[in-house]
Symmetry: C2
Subunit: 282 residues, 2 copies
C-alpha cells in the first residue's frame, strides 16, 4: 500500500492509474477510523480497482467553537487498518498544502444545506463541499463512497456532483453500529464509559419512532418528536437536543405526515459531545 | 469538426480523447466570435491535440439589469469560424441542461473578485467561476485559454485553478485590437458607426497613461487618472467612467506609485455600452 502526502504526486499517480483504464474509488475521511470507515473502503474496493482513502481533518468544516484542535488522531493505526481493509493508497495531505496562506475559493451548495446540520453549523457544508471538490480534482475518482451516518452530507455531495457535472458515481453505505445500536463515530472516543452508555439514547429514540411509524401508523411529527424527546431524556437526563427532524430522503424537505418514505434525523449533545444519527422509517 | 450539444456526450467524448493520451485544449466563449476568440482557438491548437470551443451565454454572470436577453448571437457563423480557426469540437449546451430547475451550487473566489469588475458587478465572477468549473468537469482540459481583455477574469480563474487543484494549465492570450486600437468585443456590435468611433477612447487613455509612465516617469495615480479622464471626455463627452485602476498584475492589489510592473484597467460606458480594457505599463 502506498502512502502519499504530496498533492502533485497524488495527481500524477491518479493520472497513471486512469491511463491504464483502471477505476479509482475514493473514500474521504478525517481519520481515527472505525469499522464504519472500513466498511466504506470495502465497498469502494468492490466497485473500483484502486481505492484511495484520504485522511484530512478539514479545518474549514469546523467553526471556531468546535472540536478541531482536539479532534482525535491516530495515523499509524489508521494506515494499518486501511491496509487490512484492502485500501491501495492512503492520501494524507498537509493542511498548509490544501489551504495555502492566500486561499480564497469555496464551493457552496445552497438550499439543501440550510436545514438540519446546516442550521446549527452555518459554515460546515461549505467546508465539506470545498474539500470534496479538491479531493475530486486531485484524484478524479470514478466512484466515491460516503456513509449514511452523515446523511445530509451525502445528499449535499450528491447535489454538488450533479450540479457541477462531476463524472463521479456517489455510493452511500449503511451506518455501522456498536452492539447497543450507537452509530460508530470518531467522536465516541470522547466519552467516559458511563457517558458512553447514555449515548445510546439517539438510537433508541430513532427505533422508537420507527416502530411508531411502521407498527402503529403514527404520522404526526409533533407526537413522534415528543415521544423521542422522552426516550432521550429517560436515558440521558442532561441531553441537549439540537433537532429531531422528519424529511424527504433526497431533498431533505421537512414532511407534515411521516410515512415509510421518510427519514428521521437528529442531533443531540450528550455530555458535551454533539452526536448525529438518522434512520429511514422503513 | 464535431458539434456537441449534450453534456453527457461531451463527457464521454473527452474521456475517449484522454484515454488515447491526447491533450485537450478548452476555449470557453459566449459566442458571437471575433478575431480575439479565434486567436485563442489558434493558441489552444498549438498547445493541445484537440481544441474544444464552448459557446454558452452564461446567465449567472449577468445581473438582472444587464444585457443577457440582447446579447448578440450567430451560431452558424461561429461554427464556420471555429472550423476555419482549427477547432475540433464545438460544445453548445442548452441553458436548461447547464442550470436545471433546482440548480443550487456555486463556486466563489473571494478577495480577488471584490475590486474592479467585481465591485460594479457583484455576482458576475461567481457566475464565471461556476460555469468554468462545470466546463472543466465536463471536458477535463489539459490547457484552457482565456483572453487578456478580460484580465481580472483570467486572474480569478487562475486563482480558482490553483485553489481547487485543477490539473489545468491556464494560458492568457493577448488582446486583439481593431485598427484604431479598440479591443475586440462582441459588445462592439451594439454601436452605430458614429458611436463606434468614440469607443476608441479607452485605448487612447491607456496609451496616454503608458506613455506618461514609461517616457515621463509619472507614477502618481491621481495625475494619471485625471489625464486619462480628460482623454476619454475629449473623445466621447458623454462617457461615464466606472473606474480607472492601477494594480499589481497577479494579485490585483491597487498600487500607490505606478511603474512598469503594473497594469492599468478601466471600465467606461460609451453610449450605454459598458466596455472594459487594460494595458500593462510596459
Amino acid at each position: 500500500m502506498k502512502i502519499v502526502r504530496s498533492i502533485r504526486r497524488m495527481q500524477i499517480l491518479c493520472r497513471e492509474i486512469a491511463s491504464k483504464g483502471r477505476k479509482i474509488g475514493l473514500v474521504p475521511t478525517m481519520g481515527f477510523l472505525h469499522e464504519g470507515h472500513l466498511s466504506l473502503i470495502g465497498r469502494a474496493g468492490r466497485l473500483s480497482d484502486f481505492v484511495i482513502t484520504s485522511i484530512f481533518v478539514n479545518p474549514t468544516q469546523f467553526s471556531a467553537d468546535e472540536d478541531l484542535a482536539g479532534y482525535p488522531r491516530d495515523e499509524k493505526k489508521d494506515i494499518r487498518d486501511i491496509e487490512t481493509a484492502g485500501g491501495h493508497i492512503v492520501f494524507i495531505p498537509k493542511t498548509s498544502a490544501i489551504y495555502p496562506e492566500d486561499y480564497q475559493t469555496f464551493v457552496t451548495v445552497e438550499k439543501i444545506t440550510e436545514s438540519l446540520e446546516g442550521a446549527f453549523r452555518p459554515t460546515h457544508f461549505r467546508g465539506v463541499t470545498t474539500i470534496v471538490t479538491k479531493l475530486f480534482n486531485i484524484t478524479r475518482p470514478d466512484v466515491a463512497v460516503f456513509g449514511m451516518k452523515d446523511y445530509q452530507q451525502a445528499m449535499v455531495i450528491k447535489k454538488m456532483i450533479r450540479d457541477l457535472d462531476y463524472p463521479v458515481r456517489l455510493v452511500i453505505a449503511p451506518t455501522v453500529r456498536e452492539k447497543d445500536g450507537l452509530a460508530m463515530s470518531s467522536r465516541n472516543s470522547y466519552f467516559t464509559p458511563a457517558q458512553r452508555k447514555e449515548a445510546v439514547c439517539l438510537y433508541r429514540a430513532l427505533e422508537t419512532a420507527r416502530t411508531m411509524v411502521i407498527k402503529d401508523g403514527v404520522g404526526n411529527v409533533a407526537v413522534l418528536q415528543r415521544k423521542m424527546k422522552n426516550v432521550i431524556k429517560s436515558i440521558c437526563p442532561t441531553a441537549e437536543i439540537d433537532y429531531i427532524a422528519f424529511t424527504e430522503f433526497e431533498t431533505l424537505r421537512p414532511v407534515q405526515k411521516v410515512s415509510r418514505k421518510h427519514v428521521c434525523s437528529l442531533a443531540v449533545r450528550v455530555h458535551g459531545v454533539r452526536l448525529i444519527d438518522n434512520m429511514k422509517m422503513l
